[in-house]
């Protein structure tokens, strides 16, 4: 049957050569090459569960009185959006489970992207000719963050409402165009009646489309350029050695797919996530604490918490303080990620193509720099939950804020130094001598000779 199908396709499209090569495409046998696949599989889980949720979710702002099965909120006025989320949680078969799978899959999705990017960064896989794919990957990361934030905001509960107010204040903080941007994107000043509608279409259509397009291009480029690989026996810059796509790698990849789905289901089964019925419906004057966003926006929350009150005043105008941590910092990080491959190429004066990876210890400066960047983000992230830490560690919140204000400089510096020393020690203990490269020459007599390279 399949045999005939293959022949049928070749009769019409001439696919035989392609299919033959595709099935025997080599996938390098190193576990870290599978990290990126976690994201694709988490994304598939997100699409499936998200479609299910969208069958019931109502992106409406109009007030309704809750009459559903959750007794504590009966008779409470709330938006149609929040009402429909309660309906999903308490009245739709398996609705709560699917909602929790969706949310956990989102957490896994972004975490997976971060780990995958870490692998790419620390092994130098972003170098020529893969700079563009690194940029597309970074764009996918930010699209995923944005997608996550819009999804978190959709239920119109009290916690996410407080997050949206902050997002609007950041939008509004832009010099010159701030209030225009807010009025046009959100349809007016906070609280805008049409915002849920716009967030919905952004969350279920615009950004997913961008993600799908981005992932497709990402994979097409990967397919065309082929995988990188670690140096080793028979592995050169001109080839790729590994397991064939079919059937060996397919079986392994399927195992990972099932593993990711199982992990999302297990987390959703045993650990509650975002219990919106406890936060209650959004009301402008109500607040809850502790109030944090999902972890992947935590660094932004931390930046807003520890940044000093530096507003810039002009006659009749001002740049309010949230502009720096809320706008300049994320844009800066984005630009920095885009530029990194080119900056490194310039610093190392190495513009040539590389398909063989570098071990992190062999490039101590890059490794130290990457760890130091992670330390920077980690300090911001931790600062985002300083109130919870103050409470459980019995510390003064004010002291904690000031500690983080210093740590944001000290942490990355220490991380850089420690990592550099560690990588350097490892490299030496592995017997690779520093700053002494040798070239092996074959002498005319048939013996071998070595000479140092400058």
């Amino acid at each position: 049957m399949i045999h005939r199908l293959l022949l049928w396709a070749d009769d019409r499209f001439g696919t035989a050569t392609f299919v033959h090569h595709a099935l025997k495409k080599a996938f390098p046998d190193h576990w870290s090459f599978m990290l990126g696949e976690i994201n694709i599989y988490a994304f598939i889980v997100l699409l499936a569960t998200g479609t299910f949720l969208a069958l019931w979710f109502v992106p409406g702002h109009a007030n309704v009185v809750y009459e559903g099965p959750y007794q504590l909120l009966r008779g409470v006025k709330m938006s149609e959006a929040y009402d429909s989320v309660l309906h999903i949680c308490f009245a739709v078969n398996a609705g709560l489970l699917i909602r929790q799978i969706h949310h956990w899959a989102a957490n896994i999705f972004v975490a997976g992207i971060v780990i995958h990017m870490g692998r790419i960064f620390f092994t130098g896989a972003f170098r020529n000719p893969r700079e563009l794919n690194w940029i597309i990957g970074s764009l996918l990361l930010f699209a995923a963050l944005f997608e996550g934030f819009t999804g978190y905001s959709l239920p119109d509960d009290l916690l996410s409402g407080m997050g949206l107010v902050i997002a609007m204040s950041i939008l509004q903080s832009m010099p010159f165009v701030g209030s225009w941007a807010m009025f046009f994107l959100a349809g007016g000043a906070w609280p805008s009646e049409i915002l849920t509608q716009r967030l919905f279409i952004t969350h279920v259509f615009v950004v997913p489309l961008l993600l799908i397009a981005g992932i497709t291009v990402h994979l097409m480029i990967l397919w065309r350029q082929k995988h990188t690989q670690f140096p080793g026996a028979r592995r050169t810059e001109e080839n790729v050695v590994g397991s064939p796509l079919f059937p060996q790698y397919t079986a392994r990849s399927l195992a990972l797919q099932f593993g990711v789905i199982a992990m999302c289901c297990a987390l959703a089964a045993f650990v509650q996530i975002n219990p919106v019925w406890i936060w209650g419906p959004y009301e402008a004057d109500k607040a809850i604490s502790p109030a944090q966003p999902d972890w992947y926006i935590g660094w932004l929350e931390g930046a807003l918490r520890i940044s000093p009150p530096w507003a810039v005043h002009f006659p009749g105008h001002m740049i309010p303080s949230p502009f720096w941590p809320g706008f300049v910092l994320p844009i800066g990080i984005m630009l920095f990620l885009f530029a990194y491959p080119f900056v490194e190429a310039r610093i190392r004066r190495d513009y040539s193509p590389h398909h063989l990876l570098e071990r992190p210890r062999d490039v101590p400066v890059r490794t130290a720099f990457g760890v130091s960047f992670f330390a920077f983000m980690l300090v911001l992230f931790l600062a985002g939950s300083d109130d919870v830490q103050a409470r459980y560690l019995h510390l003064s919140l004010r002291d904690l804020v000031w500690t983080y204000r210093f740590l944001i400089f000290l942490g990355p510096a220490v991380a850089f130094w420690v990592t550099y020393r560690l990588a350097d020690e490892l490299r030496r203990s592995a017997g690779v001598k520093r700053a002494e490269r040798l070239r092996i020459k074959r002498t005319p007599e048939g013996g071998y000779d070595e000479e140092p390279v400058a």
Partner: protein, 248 residues
């Protein structure tokens, strides 16, 4: 079957799903490890840059094609103009995305003579608040309005500047990122924002004591009317909530 789905807890369903997929995973992994023969293949990379003549032909094709396309200069210019006009026309529907920023950011619904209404619909009398009490209030008829929400606090005798018989009212929207400044540390007379922990000194014009907020909470002018109700004598003197470019 229906009854099972109705009453099955999230735990049972999720656990069953997780076990199912974990089973699939183990099966696929076992297949990959023990059933399939281990095999290694070597792919050769396509070499690029591609040959010099190929590259030259590509550039030539593009340059030649462009020249053909723009041979009639005036036609080309008209095409540009047409596209430009179309772009401008596309702005028209986009203009419906939102209203132009108007006075909204500068005003709230407070006006002279408004009584202070609580969430439950009742109105605040000056005598209702014991020292160190705090209440959330809105202008008459606008309960729940974000831009107008305010906190009314009674300070103990002899404490605080600019009080009206011990009462002060401030906008409840934080001047940093707009969250409700809902936490009142009564003994210290400080309002704290739960989002980024800015601290405002209620006894001294809501000046910022700690945290990222860059200006004080606007104070609502109030008076105690002869009928005992607290009434506003006007709107907040400056824009409420987080700063923006046109905010001086």
């Amino acid at each position: 079957m229906y009854g099972f789905w109705q009453q099955a807890s999230t735990q049972w369903l999720g656990f069953a799903l997780a076990c199912t997929f974990a089973g699939f995973m183990v099966a696929a992994l076992g297949w990959a490890r023990w059933i399939l023969p281990q095999e290694q293949v070597t792919d050769l990379r396509d070499t690029y840059p591609q040959p010099v003549e190929e590259r030259a032909q590509q550039v030539e094709a593009f340059v030649h094609g462009s020249a053909q396309l723009t041979r009639k200069t005036w036609l080309t210019r008209m095409a540009y103009a047409a596209f430009g006009l179309f772009g401008l026309a596309a702005l028209f529907p986009l203009g419906a995305l939102g209203p132009e920023p108007d006075g909204t950011l500068f005003h709230t619904r407070w006006k002279r003579g408004d009584r202070l209404q609580r969430n439950d619909g009742t109105f605040v009398k000056a005598a209702d608040l014991n020292p160190d009490a705090v209440q959330t209030v809105f202008p008459e008829g606008s309960v729940g309005d974000y831009r107008s929400m305010a906190v009314l606090i009674r300070l103990p005798d002899g404490v605080g500047k600019n009080t009206t018989s011990g009462l002060v009212a401030y906008s409840k929207a934080c001047t940093h990122a707009g969250c409700p400044v809902a936490l009142y540390r009564a003994a210290a007379r400080q309002l704290i924002c739960p989002c980024h922990q800015s601290v405002f000194d209620v006894a001294d014009g809501a000046k910022v004591l700690e945290g990222p907020a860059d200006h004080p909470l606007p104070q609502l002018p109030i008076q105690i009317a002869s009928d005992g109700y607290v009434r506003a004598t006007g709107d907040f003197p400056e824009p409420i909530g987080p700063g923006f470019w046109e905010h001086s």
